[in-house]
């Protein structure tokens, strides 16, 4: 089963990672790899380099970052292949504190698999999705 761990914290209070934290994160990622569970993982640049697109019916509104009104923002994520929620939570517990002296949240969520969508995911749509994944795999 695939699980995503979302790392969120208060960006306004954030301090850039120092060498020590970068090393700790590197070691954590190496451990995930050596445990055979790491599928993907990335960190995100602060929201002043991003934008938000709001969707209301047919209307689209674009607001440039930073997203000052949001308290906690996503700062990174991992996708793990584990036996279940408990194991994903155990890995989340091992994430080094990205903001020493402050708090951060690690949200653990299961990734949707085709089986979760049931009959709403028609065989044709499923086949189209698989073809898309195949093309993406070739681009990689």
């Amino acid at each position: 089963m695939r699980y995503m761990i979302l790392l969120t914290y208060d960006e306004k209070q954030a301090v850039p990672p120092d060498e020590r934290l970068i090393n700790e994160m590197g070691m954590f990622n190496a451990r995930l790899e050596k445990a055979g569970v790491l599928r993907a993982g990335e960190g995100l640049v602060a929201s002043d380099h991003g934008a938000r697109v709001t969707v209301t019916d047919d209307k689209r509104t674009v607001v440039d970052g930073p997203f000052a009104e949001s308290k906690e923002l996503v700062a990174g994520f991992w996708i793990l292949d584990v036996s279940g929620l408990e194991e994903a939570v155990e890995w989340a517990r091992r994430v080094p504190n990205p903001q020493p002296g402050r708090s951060a949240t690690l949200e653990v969520r299961r990734v949707v698999e085709a089986e979760d969508l049931g009959d709403a995911f028609a065989p044709e749509a499923r086949a189209a999705e698989e073809r898309m994944r195949a093309r993406l795999a070739e681009l990689d």
């Binding site: 090393n23 070691m27 190496a30 451990r31 790899e33 050596k34 445990a35 055979g36 569970v37 036996s83 279940g84 408990e86 194991e87 939570v89 155990e90 890995w91 517990r93 499923r126 086949a127 698989e130 073809r131 994944r133 195949a134 993406l136 795999a137 990689d140």
Partner: protein, 443 residues
């Protein structure tokens, strides 16, 4: 460490509510799955006896089951479990003369190598533990043990599985598994198997033994059918995980990547290889849209790594390359049969086997026509290893059918049907025999 291990804490703690207890037990199972190998390996480094290390680690797990429901799971559960295990080891060493000598040796080791690594020095601790885990894998898969014993010990020590889980996955009794593990530990002790990663000329053979165990676990899971206990198919996941662990710990061994590639690509077809009624679907008839592209991509990446490391000619890399030929073909018609035939020829030269040769015959039959394939099959009809192998007459029947020799084809399909006990295969072979009969009557 924020929570100090305390052997006696359980007696003082109030009993938690049953729901909370169940949740903590699930959390402890998850911890054990992540930490078992590292805890056992860390203790084995100290006591130099894998069997004893595993028992001490189990003691530590029991202590966790007693204490964590009340105290909560500690911040660094792996270090907690290792500390308890090592403390028990010291108690044991103090009581045991035989082990006392080992303690002296450890003392000397410590003098020459500096202080033992602790969680305080996590970078070097992690690296040392990685080496210990690798030693543990090599010891659990030591050729002095029977294959069954190696499999059971590996799942128990590296996968953190219980004897009950192993028993259910292999359709044997728990007592049998327990007995295998006890015997295996005794054998390791008697043979004085050192806790080390072999170097030099021994290494390749020993690595072969490790990879064999992992692939065996994979195949056991892969052969599971839909009605089986979910633990059986879970063996595939476990083998894949073990393969990735090995790839992380021994990244320069091409055959490790070759095996990972082979398992990833085979696993990518698991959804397509069974029909809606549980019947097996042959590779060329599978709906390729149901192949898992993510696993294929990972498999192809692992194969590329094996080849970069100069391992293209290894037995697992060759089998992975064959699987990759199928994975790359959008349709069955696009399959590069010439390349597959060449890869089977290379595999046959490396490890001569009539089954490999039979597979080569199929590929040659597809690449250069049924007559060329039949020529190879006819050389195999006397091979003792294939005497009761139903795929020999089945393949021969298929080639004869394609050549229009329907009477002979029918006889071969009928013979094949008497050689297997799999109901679904029998039905398929009977149907093919009828087809040959009808085609013969029409022609």
């Amino acid at each position: 460490m924020s929570t100090a291990p305390d052997d006696d804490a359980a007696e003082r703690s109030p009993a938690p509510a049953p729901a909370a207890l169940a949740a903590t037990h699930r959390a402890i199972e998850a911890v054990w799955r992540i930490e078992a190998a590292r805890v056992i390996a860390g203790i084995a480094r100290m006591v130099r006896d894998v069997g004893l290390a595993e028992e001490l680690a189990q003691d530590a797990l029991v202590a966790a089951l007693e204490q964590w429901p009340a105290s909560g799971v500690p911040d660094n559960p792996g270090a907690w479990l290792t500390a308890i295990g090592k403390r028990r080891a010291i108690d044991l060493i103090r009581r045991n003369e035989r082990l006392e000598r080992k303690l002296e040796e450890i003392g000397r080791d410590l003098d020459t190598n500096g202080p033992a690594p602790g969680p305080e020095d996590e970078a070097s601790f992690d690296e040392d533990i990685d080496d210990d885990v690798l030693r543990l894998i090599f010891t659990a898969c030591h050729p002095v043990l029977s294959t069954e014993a190696r499999v059971a010990l590996t799942l128990r020590m590296l996968g953190g599985l219980t004897t009950d889980e192993i028993a259910r996955a292999f359709l044997i009794t728990e007592a049998t598994v327990a007995q295998r593990i006890v015997r295996a530990k005794k054998t390791l002790g008697k043979a004085n198997v050192p806790f080390e990663v072999p170097e030099g000329e021994d290494r390749a053979a020993r690595l072969g033994s490790v990879l064999e165990v992992v692939y065996l676990i994979f195949n056991e899971g892969y052969s599971a059918t839909a009605g089986d206990d979910w633990l059986r198919p879970a063996l595939c996941e476990e083998a894949l995980r073990l393969g990735r662990v090995l790839a992380g710990l021994a990244p320069k061994e091409p055959e490790v990547h070759g095996l990972v590639a082979l398992m990833e690509i085979q696993a990518s077809r698991s959804r397509a290889r069974v029909g809606p009624d549980g019947e097996p679907v042959l590779l060329l008839d599978q709906n390729r849209a149901r192949w898992d592209q993510l696993l294929i991509r990972r498999g192809l990446t692992a194969l590329a790594r094996a080849e970069e490391l100069g391992g293209a000619a290894g037995p697992y890399a060759l089998q992975a390359a064959i699987a990759a030929c199928h994975a790359r073909a959008r349709t069955a018609e696009e399959t590069d049969w010439d390349r597959i035939a060449a890869l089977y020829a290379a595999l046959g030269a490396l490890m001569p086997s009539p089954i490999v040769e039979l597979n080569r015959a199929v590929a040659v039959g597809m690449a250069r026509g049924p007559a060329a394939g039949l020529e190879i099959v006819d050389e195999l009809t006397d091979a003792p290893a294939l005497r009761s192998y139903h795929l020999l007459p089945s393949v021969r029947g298929d080639l004869l059918f394609k050549l229009g020799r329907f009477g002979e084809a029918r006889a071969e399909f009928e013979r094949a049907a008497t050689m297997t006990r799999n109901e679904r295969e029998i039905a398929l072979l009977r149907r093919r025999a009828e087809e040959a009969e009808e085609a013969g009557a029409a022609g």
